[in-house]
Every structure is written in C-alpha cells, then in structure tokens.
C-alpha cells in the first residue's frame, strides 16, 4: 500500500517537472515560460518530497524533508518573480507585444 502511494507521488511529481520542461520549450516568451516553471516545478518537487516522506515513515529524516519542502515552496515563486522583473525592466520581446493594461489610466 505504502509502495503504491510512494510510486504515485514520485511519478506524479516527475511528470509535472517534465511538463515544466516541455513548457519551457513550447511556450512563446520568457514570461509565459516562467508561468509553467513556477507552478509545475513547485508542485512537482513538493510531490516528490512528499513521496520520500511517505516512503521513510516517521523517522529522523522526516523533519529534514519538511524543511526541504518549506524552502522549495518559499523560494521557487521568488525566482519566478525575479525572472519576471528582469523581463519587465528590460522590456524583453513578448508574444503579442501589447501595451500594459494599467488601471491607473
């Protein structure tokens, strides 16, 4: 039972990371690519670590796995934010380059 659960979690995580990689290749510009990476990577790594946790059971490593999950969840969105900020400040080429929709105007 535990093996099946572990397999589902780890394989699901790996498939999500694969989707993120395909997204980097397929989507048209930097910002769209960072969408795929931010979301699919976060959940992918989360599921893989969760699978590891289920596999190990309650042991010394459980706390370390929890810490790893915490830091992944906190840092990946920040990385995606920084990539977006760079693309915004340098006005990198965008798909359907339209002016920003500004609520202040």
């Amino acid at each position: 039972m535990i093996e099946v659960l572990t397999a589902i979690l780890v394989l699901g995580g790996a498939l999500l990371i694969l989707v993120a990689a395909i997204g980097v290749l397929r989507l048209p510009d930097v910002l769209c690519r960072s969408h795929a990476v931010a979301k699919a990577m976060t959940l992918g790594i989360f599921l893989m670590l969760l699978g590891l946790w289920v596999h190990q059971g309650e042991s010394q490593s459980a706390l370390k796995i929890l810490l790893a999950i915490f830091f992944q969840l906190v840092t990946i969105p920040v990385a995606s934010h920084l990539i977006g900020l760079l693309a915004f400040d340098h006005d990198l080429p965008r798909w359907r380059h339209r002016p920003m929709d500004d609520h202040r105007k």
Partner: protein, 158 residues
C-alpha cells in the same frame, strides 16, 4: 502574534513534559494550547486569536485548491494549447491600503495560482504588476484576485 507565541510555548512545555518527544506529541501540545487560548480568550489581550486561526485555515484550503487548479491549467496550456490561442499581457492591480506583509503574501499567491505571475511591486507599494497568460479580460482577472485572495488575506491579518 503574542497569542501565537503563548500557544507555541505551551506546545514546547508539553513536549518537554512528555516521556517520548516526537512530532505527534508536539502537535497534541499545540492543540491543547490552542484550546486553552480559546477558553481564556476574553481575558487575553488579543481576543480574536481563534477567529484568525480559523480564517487562516480556511484561506490555506482555498489556496491549496487554487494551487491544484493552477497546475491543471499549466498542464493544459503546455500540452494542448497552440501559441495562437495565448493572449498574454501585463496587468496592474491596485494594492494601496495594504501593508507590505500583505502585499508579499498576495504576490506569492498570485505567482502560484491559475494564469498569473507577479512581475513587479512599484516602489511606493501601491501597485502590483502581474503577467497573465489570458489577459483579454483584465477586469475579470482583477475581480478574481479581489474575490479570492484579497478578502482571504485580510480576514486573518486584520
């Protein structure tokens, strides 16, 4: 915040008193502390601690649902949609009146939920610039942020 520290303190004392410390014992201690704080709510300085914790729990559930939806959305976008069906653009969102901590939480939620990533917070902390993958109806994107996240975050930070 003070109540949370008291709650944590009770959990640590509970852990030290137990014969076999483990994460389960700590969780029980935390629940006991929470129940105590709930009982003595009216005498403490922050009488809305219990309400805030429940609001936080509800918000976390909503967030988890949105996070899963975001991932299904990414899978659909990456595998099945052609380039021509994408209409990405930058959208601004008004965050004046929120504290920096609340803006941080909001930008984090924006990054992990369907169809949007945070791009920039202006220097005066009044505007959040985000990038949406389907930006044909910016009003709808802003309304969704208002409805789902702004209300949820404000329900436990204030």
């Amino acid at each position: 915040m003070k109540s949370f520290v008291i709650n944590l303190l009770i959990a640590v004392i509970w852990l030290l008193l137990s014969s076999e410390p483990s994460s389960g014992v700590f969780a029980v201690g935390f629940l006991v502390g929470f129940a105590l704080l709930g009982v003595f709510q009216s005498v403490l300085e922050s009488p809305d601690y219990v309400r805030r914790v429940f609001a936080l729990g509800r918000f976390l559930l909503v967030f988890a649902g949105e996070f899963l939806a975001a991932n299904l959305n990414v899978i659909r976008t990456v595998l099945f949609r052609s380039r021509d069906s994408l209409h990405p653009n930058f959208i601004t969102y008004d965050v004046s009146g929120l504290r920096p901590m609340e803006i941080l939480l909001l930008s984090y939620c924006v990054s992990l939920t369907p169809g949007s990533t945070t791009v920039k917070v202006t220097d005066d902390f009044t505007t959040l610039v985000l990038h949406a993958i389907d930006a044909d109806d910016p009003r709808e994107v802003r309304a969704r942020l208002d409805r789902v996240f702004r209300r949820g975050i404000l329900s436990f930070t204030r």
